[in-house]
């Protein structure tokens, strides 16, 4: 009785899968990204930007502080990427979305310090809209960025 009713229901529903099932259409387009994923991607892009800046500064300056801070930013990037689940068939990028300007020949510390403070402020603003675990990671990285800025201010 029940088996006989299923084809009838399909006919009545016009065989449209989206009409019959409440969930997303498996034949449709890719579902939209979750808010946390969008924010996380933006933060990863910003971290890549910072790393690019540090690499630029390392190549132009002999300051021993820069490579050490660069290493900590690479740890930030690793931890952030570990939170990002990329769908199959997509390749995460390892370069910034837009190339920041190269390090200035004079006072690269101030240039990096400004970038660190901007990163910390950006993370602090973003952490209010994401899940608690991700928010704590953002807050920790922001705190690290602030300590980096302090260290750069002393050079």
């Amino acid at each position: 009785m029940l088996l006989a009713a299923v084809p009838l229901a399909l006919i009545v529903a016009g065989c449209g899968s989206a009409d019959l099932f409440a969930g997303p259409d498996p034949l449709g387009s890719r579902p939209p990204l979750a808010h946390d994923t969008i924010v996380l991607r933006a933060v990863i892009a910003a971290e890549l930007d910072l790393i690019y800046r540090y690499k630029s500064a390392v190549s132009t300056s002999g300051n021993a502080l820069f490579p050490a801070l660069l290493a900590q930013h690479q740890q930030h990037l690793s931890r952030l990427k570990a939170r990002l689940i990329t769908p199959p068939g997509t390749q995460p990028t390892d370069s910034p979305t837009h190339m920041p300007e190269p390090a200035p020949p004079t006072r690269p510390s101030a240039w990096l310090r400004d970038a660190e403070l901007a990163s910390a402020a950006s993370l602090t603003g973003r952490l209010v809209s994401v899940g608690p675990s991700l928010a704590q990671l953002f807050a920790s990285i922001a705190a690290s960025d602030v300590t980096h800025a302090d260290a750069l201010g002393g050079t």
Binding site: A64, A68, Q72, L123, V128, S133, I141, A142, T147, G154
Partner: protein, 291 residues
């Protein structure tokens, strides 16, 4: 998500511990370092009052400070005093990071900014920065081990662990509730016959200790996750990331004390009734427990 009041109470407890601890550390500092310690001490007192007001405004009763706190390691020099200050700031950083996990956006921002301040102070005392202030170092393969009071190894635990917020005790990563066999033998051979002076200190609090939830990398952290059994060992591990002095004019004048498992059991139960002053009772306790 953590409830706001619970997280605020935890931050308040951490601030109270910092106020107490800076009083102990400050007694061993002088000059610019002591001035900095006093400045930070004042900041912690203000933060304590702010948190008290926030908790009261939410209709809860703020947690009271303990009569005294177990020091994580003996504080007998400038280097150990600065290590204690860094340790305290690490605890405060972790406590404020708990606030970031609450649902209230304004509290999250408040917690994040306070985390940044505490991390900056910790970096000052440590002389270096770390990549993830307030979070356990690295992604642990095994969650932080917690010992239930009264369980296996409780005797060892009582001597090795440090007091954390809400009086909870916890072990560091990779450490079990039982000490290594060799270490236990060494400690027993060096243990004095009389420890009554230490355990029976008039300021000792009969505070009930309780375990906290395990931390997982994908979950909001809770508690002082980086309060290990041997803080000196922890600081040594962190030294691997040292890259450069943050504040050259206030660098620690000596290296941090090496890990000393033999003497860890004799952590003084410091009586700190007068912040920033040496306390004769504390010194008596240390001498007695070492003889």
């Amino acid at each position: 998500m953590a409830t706001a009041v619970v997280a605020l109470q935890a931050a308040l407890a951490a601030e109270q511990a910092a106020v107490y601890g800076y009083g102990v550390a400050g007694a061993h500092l002088s000059g610019a370092s002591q001035a900095t310690a006093q400045q930070y001490w004042t900041a912690h007192r203000k933060a304590r009052d702010t948190l008290t007001a926030m908790i009261t405004a939410r209709g809860a009763t703020p947690v009271a400070a303990l009569a005294y706190y177990d020091l994580p390691f003996p504080v007998t020099s400038v280097a150990s005093a600065e290590a204690l200050a860094a340790h305290l700031e690490d605890g405060v950083t972790a406590a404020y990071l708990d606030l970031v996990a609450v649902s209230d956006a304004s509290l999250r921002t408040f917690g994040a900014l306070a985390t940044q301040n505490a991390a900056g102070r910790a970096a000052h005392w440590r002389g270096s920065t770390i990549p993830f202030p307030g979070l356990p170092a690295g992604l642990p393969a095994v969650a932080t081990v917690m010992c239930v009071p009264g369980g296996a190894g409780s005797r060892w635990r009582g001597r090795r662990l440090v007091a954390s917020r809400r009086g909870a005790l916890r072990l560091g990563r990779g450490q079990s509730c039982s000490p290594p066999r060799q270490r236990r033998r060494r400690r027993q051979s060096a243990r004095p016959t009389t420890t009554k002076t230490t355990t029976g200190h008039p300021c000792r609090s009969p505070h009930t200790r309780s375990p906290q939830a395990l931390w997982r990398p994908d979950s909001p952290r809770r508690g002082w996750g980086r309060a290990p059994a041997a803080p000196s060992a922890m600081l040594q591990i962190r030294d691997e990331t040292i890259h450069r002095p943050v504040f050259p004019d206030t660098l620690p004048s000596a290296r941090l004390p090496p890990s000393s498992p033999v003497t860890d059991w004799s952590h003084p139960k410091t009586k700190c009734c007068r912040p920033f002053q040496h306390d004769a009772a504390c010194e008596i306790v240390q001498r007695t427990s070492r003889n």
